[in-house]
Symmetry: C2
Subunit: 582 residues, 2 copies
């Protein structure tokens, strides 16, 4: 079975030494969130998660969810853990106190997301969607709706969903057909079918709050005619008690490659009572408030799975003996190709953690910094980093899961060792909340273009500033080469996109990967420097060696990847589609 | 559900137009194996496989195998299809007539392997191991053993296994402990436990023939003290009828990530009666006769899964509509990033097919050509290509399975669409018959060194000769650059390996991938040229475009990959292993 211990030292190193998380306690909103307080809270949550949730990972995968008579049964132990996690106050840890939260930084909530997702990513979706639903209502709903729903979501008494996808409307959200018909009492009758609804039905919480994308009568076609609604599983009486069951039924649940403990529902809304959230036809904007944060959340899910793969592969490689390496030792960690895989995993996971945590810290700064200029800068970073965090951490989760299997050899293919589950659980992360190709399109089509290229400009300037100081040549030379290539290709994409969007779009995934690798190269430079100050020679050496691996084996691929991006796609796009199948 | 149609046109194009399969009919052994005959046989087998086996793929995955009271039950339909496939004579299609085979080329058997593995790779392992056991006995066993076992294996009345791995002896075969104690009657008593025994127990065939690696008393330690034995499930009477059950029991069967229809057994040998195959302490050599062919077979399994992923993704992308691409069309094949994924899949699968088929043809030439010089050349190609076929086709199967899911979007994660199964079924291919890292070590440590570098030298000369003719610049320029880099790095590896094996070993997987990509670049050059002669403008255009994609997006990565290989691994290998877990 895969084991899990939260990497507390690494988490604290990144937060405190690399990213200076002390900055958060300087914000008026988070004066209590000192580095020590955060560290203590993470340790406390990690202990609960390691002891109570991680042991459920394999069994919940094997058991999955059941639908009987419209009711969903989740795996054994999930309801008990939900209650523990809820009662300890972790679900609303970063929500405002006025709505029943603990008013601690978003960054803390995301660190806990990583830990939760290493232990059991399928379970993590229940609180994850609950937080997402909270964020959507908080951003756009009326005060009355907020007062009714937010405290229940913050405490985890109720859970949340987002109901966006329909069979004909997956990546093309604007094709949604679910109807919302105004009623005399100010509510709306919601009618239509939604698919892929995570946590759509279960009985761990007293109520489920659906955040639903639907179309008002006579609204314009496409995304401009969508509105958002709150639709509870049980109607809520004026005194806050629960009333009748609403017209939302579970038609079926999906049988999936992984995250079997997370229920994925086909929901039917039949004359379900809902209330509009925000203004009519503003649904796509309201949805994107949640979606953008959800994309960061999914990145953290990927990071959690990267960590799980990495620490299990390392543990196995330190214990397992096969033959003799060139240095005479038998542990497989001494075999060069196994060590190469471990370094690939370590370099990816630790580098991605800096990208992810830094993005979360910028969310806090964008929300709460006193200086509007700092808030604007921070929001630029959030916008730029969101597709990188989402796509890179999730692609890496699948890749590292596959590498973990490879380190285990044939044993990795056997379920009881627990690493094959990582590949199965992680693959969905590359698909939901916008496929990773859609993230790449968001990057090249929107994030590079905003404010005349200001977002990538901030990144280039920050890395150049860090490169101005002396640093280990093994890192700085490949980082400089990657940065030069990335800046040049970024200009090319910014120009080409207007005249020939096919070219820029064709290379968007390679571009996105090259950008993320460059970001991680910068992360590694900062980590190596911070580790040198740590006073722990072994820790500093491990960071130096892993950083050197990253620079010489991964960062070194960036210029060639970007070469691909600048190749013309015209002949490839011109091929008659029917000839693909010939 | 995933669907499957054998790509007959593509198969015939590669065999006839690219590789000139007519050469096989010029061999004395295969005069009847004209291109038309081969083509007709492939079509006939493909029809049976498409109609009768492919529909079992999803259901056998869901059902898996069961062990009850020591007896294994395979999925519904497997026994019936085994009987059909056996009765049609396909199992022994390439075995010698004197042993009940049809004496047709190995190349034909491997093409059928591809088709079988697209349709149901789990099923394909039953005939696959049977052929492997046949090959091992044919190469090393006494005439008496051959007469007893080979005709039964060729006809598929009996099936075969190879029993190599033990819990402590996975990649390190020499650590095997199973004992073989000589008996007065000339037989041996076999005692020990074996794991990961594919097809180790089932009732589709009347008997199961185990080819077992074990250790004689007082034999030297390690691989030099291993011998091989034939151990039947049921003892065979002098008249060929079946006698008592032998001392081989199934302790348990594995629950795996995929290939659920293939039973994977933990076998216990308790005073089991066996007969030595070949000379004492020559077991590792005997095993490698089978292992080398098995590695090629596994490459074909990967090719079959690549084809399955590719054709389903293309079909889906031609049908599925989402939004509008820049050209105004809604089918997702028109979206640049989806088209990029399809071209990646097509370029990989079609290029890998040339590598795989060419390797199989060289097996036939090495066995049967009249000229010893041609046989030697052919065997060099087989030896060089074996790790490339095994590793590249299987790594690609996992990659393309994952891409197929990505093309399907969220639907790809749902079991009923059938593409997630490709990832699960394919991952084992990267592990068994030597992990892909072990293939890479075989390549750099052995294949580059043999006969003073003669093997890669043949490859470089052949590609240079083809580059001497005019060709499409989009292919020839990147191919030349890749070849130059590969030749330079090959010399570096050949020299470095002696003085610093860690360095060469650390980069072996990147080197192996770079070599395979260069091989596929050469394949694409030959395919594009052959397609231009086909008289079918659409087919030629598709090949040109796909070849251009391969050259500009994949071949273009070779020099940077090889740059990685030449980086020193010394500081990475020097890191104290304990610091990995810090």
């Amino acid at each position: 079975m895969a084991s899990y211990k939260a990497p507390l030292r690494e988490i604290n190193f990144v937060l405190q030494d690399v990213l200076k998380v002390g900055r958060l306690a300087e914000l008026d909103a988070y004066q209590e969130a000192t580095p020590d307080t955060l560290s203590g809270l993470i340790e406390e949550a990690a202990k609960l998660i390691e002891e109570q949730l991680a042991p459920l990972n394999a069994v919940s995968d094997a058991q999955g969810c059941r639908l009987e008579n419209g009711e969903v049964t989740v795996p054994d132990g999930f309801a008990e853990f939900w209650a523990m996690y809820r009662d300890a106050g972790w679900i609303g840890i970063s929500q405002k106190e006025e709505y029943g939260g603990a008013n601690l930084p978003y960054t803390l909530a995301k660190v806990l997301e990583e830990v939760l997702c290493s232990a059991n990513v399928a379970f993590a979706l229940y609180p994850g969607l609950t937080q997402g639903c909270f964020e959507a209502l908080e951003a756009s709903a009326s005060d009355e709706i907020k007062q009714t729903y937010l405290p229940k979501l913050a405490t985890g008494e109720w859970s949340g969903t987002m109901c966006i996808t329909e069979p004909q409307a997956g990546s093309d959200v604007g094709a949604a057909k679910t109807k919302a018909t105004p009623q005399d009492d100010g509510s709306f009758a919601i009618d239509g079918g939604k698919i892929f609804i995570t946590s759509g039905e279960h009985r761990m919480a007293d109520n489920i709050v659906h955040f639903v994308l639907a179309r008002l009568p006579d609204s314009p076609p496409g995304v401009k005619g969508l509105s958002t609604f709150v639709v509870p599983k049980f109607l809520v009486n004026a005194d806050g008690t629960l009333g009748a069951r609403n017209g939302v039924t579970t038609q079926s649940i999906e049988h999936k490659m992984g995250i079997n403990g997370s229920v994925t529902c086909v929901l039917q809304f039949d004359n379900a009572k809902g209330w509009i959230v925000g203004a009519p036809n503003q649904g796509i904007q309201n949805m994107f408030v949640m979606m953008n944060l959800a994309r960061i959340m999914v990145g953290f899910q990927g990071l959690g799975q990267c960590e799980l793969a990495t620490q299990n592969a390392i543990r196995y490689a330190l214990e397992r003996k096969q033959g003799k390496a060139f240095n005479g030792k038998a542990e497989i960690v001494e075999h060069p190709d196994v060590r190469r895989m471990l370094l690939q995993m370590k370099a990816t996971t630790e580098g991605a953690r800096v990208l992810a945590y830094e993005t979360a810290m910028y969310v806090d700064l964008a929300r709460h910094h006193a200086d509007p200029g700092v808030r604007e800068t921070a929001q630029d970073w959030v916008d730029l980093n969101t597709p990188l965090v989402k796509a890179f951490c999730t692609d890496s989760a699948v890749e590292l899961g596959s590498l973990a299997i490879q380190v285990y050899g044939g044993h990795g293919f056997i379920k009881e060792h627990g690493v094959e589950q990582i590949v199965r659980d992680s693959k969905i992360l590359c698909l939901y909340e916008g496929t990773n190709g859609i993230q790449a399109m968001d990057l090249v089509r929107r994030k590079l273009m905003l404010h005349n290229g200001r977002l990538p400009g901030r990144f280039f300037a920050a890395v150049r500033a860090d490169l101005a100081s002396d640093g280990p040549q093994a890192l700085t030379a490949p980082l400089k080469a990657a940065l030069d290539a990335l800046e040049g290709t970024t200009r090319w994409v910014q120009e080409t996109y207007k005249s020939n969007p096919d070219d820029a779009a064709f290379g968007c995934c390679d571009y996105q990967r090259a950008f993320a690798l460059t970001y991680l190269g910068w992360s590694w430079l900062r980590m190596v420097r911070a580790a040198e100050q740590s006073g722990d020679a072994g820790f500093a050496q491990a960071k130096r060696v892993t950083g050197e691996y990253f620079a010489t084996r991964l960062l070194s691929q960036v210029p060639a990847l970007l070469g691909n991006v600048r190749e013309s796609a015209a002949p490839l796009m011109a091929l008659d589609a029917e000839l693909f199948a010939a």
